[in-house]
Each structure stands twice: as C-alpha cells, then as structure tokens.
Symmetry: C2
Subunit: 211 residues, 2 copies
DNA sequence: GTCTATACCCTGATAGAC
DNA sequence: GTCTATCAGGGTATAGAC
C-alpha cells in the first residue's frame, strides 16, 4: 500500500545518496540534491532539517540495512567457510543494490567516522561482530584456521568495496589507454575472491561445497 | 645543502596533505592549510596558483613516490612470492612515512579519480603494472598460481590501505566500548596479511623464506 | 505541502603597500 | 618575498505567501 507521503522523502534520500557518494559531504550541493529529486529546495529542508541531518539519516539507513544482511548469514546455517563465501557474495549484491555504497563507505572511513552517531556506529560495528562469530565458529570446529579476526575481516571485505568503488578509475584508465585491464565482471571477481579467501583461511581448501 | 627557498613550499605541502586527508578537497580550507604551515595565505597563493593546483601538486608527488617503491620491488631480485611479501610491507612502510596517504587514496577512489591529471594517473597505474609483472613472473616459473591479476592486486593492497585508514574509527569504537578489538600492531597486521596472501596465491605455501 | 525570494555567512582569491 | 585588507561568488538556510 503506497503511502504517497513517503515517496518524496525517499526520492530525496535516493538523490542524496547519489550526490554524497559523488562529492562527499562537504562537496555535496543541496541544490543539486533537490533538483535531482525533483523537489523544491525548501521542501527538502521541510523533510530534513539540514544537510547534516539528511546525511545522518542516509548513513543510518544504509549501514543498518547492510548489517542486517551480514547478521542473517552469521546466524544462519552452514559451515563457516561457506558462510564466508556468502558474506563475500552478499556484500557484492548489497553494493549492486546500493551503487552509492562503496564511495560513501570509503569517504566515511577516510573521515574517521566523523559523521557516525552512536546508533550508526552500532550498526556498522555489527558487521565485524557477525563476521567474528563466523570465524570463531569455524575455528572451534576446525573448518577455519585460527587467525586474527581483524586481518580476516579486512582481507575479505576491503577488496570488494575497493574494487567496486574503483570502477570509474578503471574506466578512465582504459579510456586513456594507459593500461590494458582485461574484462572481469563483478560476478567473476566475487568468485575468484571467494576462492582466494578460502585458500587463505580455510583449514582444508579442497573441501569445496559451493552451490 | 639546504635551499631555504624550498622550505616554505614544502611546509605548505605537508600542511596541505594533512588538511586534504582530514577533510577532502571540498572540505579542506585554505586558511587552515596556511595557518598550519605558518605562512600567510597570500604566500600560499604565491607558490601555488590555486587550491586545485596545490592539491594536484600534492597528489602527483605522493603517487609518484609510491609507484617508485613498488617498481623497485618488481624489477629487483627474489622469488615472486617473496616480492609480494615485500609489496605488502613496503606499502605499509610507505604509509607510515606518509600518514595522510590512506585517507587521500580512499577519497580519490571514491571521487572516481576526478582530480587525477594524466601524469598522476600514469604514476598511479604504474603500481598495478609493476604488481602484474610480479604475478606473471611467478606464474611463469610456477611459484604462483595463475590468477586474475586484478583480483590479486585488490586482495593484497586494499586490506592494507583500508585497515590503516580505519584506525580512527577503530579508536572511536574502542573508546565508546562498542566492541572489544584486541591489540594488533601494524607490523603484526602486515605479517598476517603476508601469510594470508601467500596461502591465497602461492603454488606451494610451505616454501617460506621470510627473512 | 509547495514555491519564490532573499538573508547572511563562509571561503577562495587578489590588490597593493612594503 | 611578505603581509593586511577586502572583494566577489557561491552555498546553506529561512521567511512568508499561497
């Protein structure tokens, strides 16, 4: 049941996601967000009190949604290495559904989390928390080597975010013929990263049970 | 042989690195850069024509220096897996010498390379180019598994940059007691990442010859 | 809820004296 | 080479009519 009253703020949020991802908080222009959302600028301030409030709302929504997906994997069934496979593919899928996510994630890390209020930080932290639970489960039953959880966390997630965020630069490099980067679809990247991660952290690499 | 004429622009560049890393191009304030460099703002504009020119100069210098270090490894001696170990440690070392680097790198990727002129892009590209040469050498002599070079590149470098850039957020998480992240020094991170990368990409993991 | 017009501040950049 | 003073433009935010 569509609530028409919701559609305007949602359009604003979608436009804001695009703008903040492309230019960062300081570089984003409220005028551009309003124009892209096809609403009047005063309307934007009517729904969101300020540029900051708009940004905070956006961050909270997106980090909460991301955390939910990872938590679902951790608390679901399956062997630990398979769960890690699923973390990789789910994260990539989440980014496909939220193209603005990698850029905003990178910027927020660079910013030192300056725009993350407690609730948002809590959502963000629940991602590594869920991931650590998978690692511990795998170490306990011998499916995973015992490794430092932070190392594993960054080894798994950083490549995905970075690779998908770097798409525009790769296109620029290719367009200027500075280097010949072969074709590599996002799905292929995911599969090969799953493979690398399994070799890096699974106790028995040959135990492949990918669907 | 100190050339006093150089010291002022260098101080400005150092201050700019700090400011741009902390706030990004749009968020950076020329006034703050000048104050931090202890020079008058007019002086800054005397040496650098504009905020943009200052940023470009900084980017070109830092990416060129980073590329040099990686190229030296690729063209140096040793087995391919050992070279990859060295890429990991050298990159971490480079960041220790240039603390502002991870944030600027992340922001530039998020920006889609909007501030990278041809020369800077060329320097940036020479990093993966050197890395790919190592991979090819290793695949040719059987020391490395044949893998997609882009996957390996991002699997190796993204975790380092991301992990070191995320230091401030980790401190924030710890300070707010949202999660208990154990102690992990940068050196430990490097060693464990080297280990993970070797397992992921070396043909024979047991062939360890780390100094 | 929607729009126009505008206040007001911030910031990049420069003119011009020394 | 160095500094003070200032301008011009652009950007967030709001007042107030409808």
């Amino acid at each position: 049941m569509a609530r028409p009253a919701r559609v305007t703020p949602d359009r604003i949020l979608a436009a804001a996601a695009f703008e903040f991802a492309a230019h960062g908080f300081a570089g984003a222009r409220v005028d551009r967000i309003a124009r892209r959302a096809r609403v009047n600028k005063a309307m934007l301030y009517y729904y969101f009190r300020s540029k900051q409030a708009l940004y905070h709302t956006l961050l909270r929504a997106v980090f909460t949604r991301a955390a939910e997906r990872i938590e679902a994997i951790a608390s679901g069934g399956g062997a630990a290495p398979d769960k890690i496979d699923r973390v990789v593919s789910t994260f990539a899928e989440f980014i496909r559904d939220h193209e603005f996510f990698p850029a905003i994630m990178l910027r927020e890390v660079a910013e030192g989390g300056a725009h993350l209020d407690r609730q948002t930080l809590r959502a963000l932290v629940s991602v590594p928390r869920a991931f650590f639970a998978i690692l511990q489960e795998g170490a306990a039953d011998g499916a995973l080597r015992p490794v430092n959880p932070l190392v594993a966390y960054f080894a798994v997630l950083a490549p995905i975010v970075f690779y998908l965020a770097a798409g525009p630069i790769r296109r620029e490099v290719t367009a200027r013929r500075l280097m010949n980067l072969g074709a590599l679809s996002a799905d292929d990247f995911v599969r090969q990263l799953q493979d690398a991660v399994r070799r890096a952290f699974a106790q028995d690499v040959s135990a492949r049970t990918r669907p």
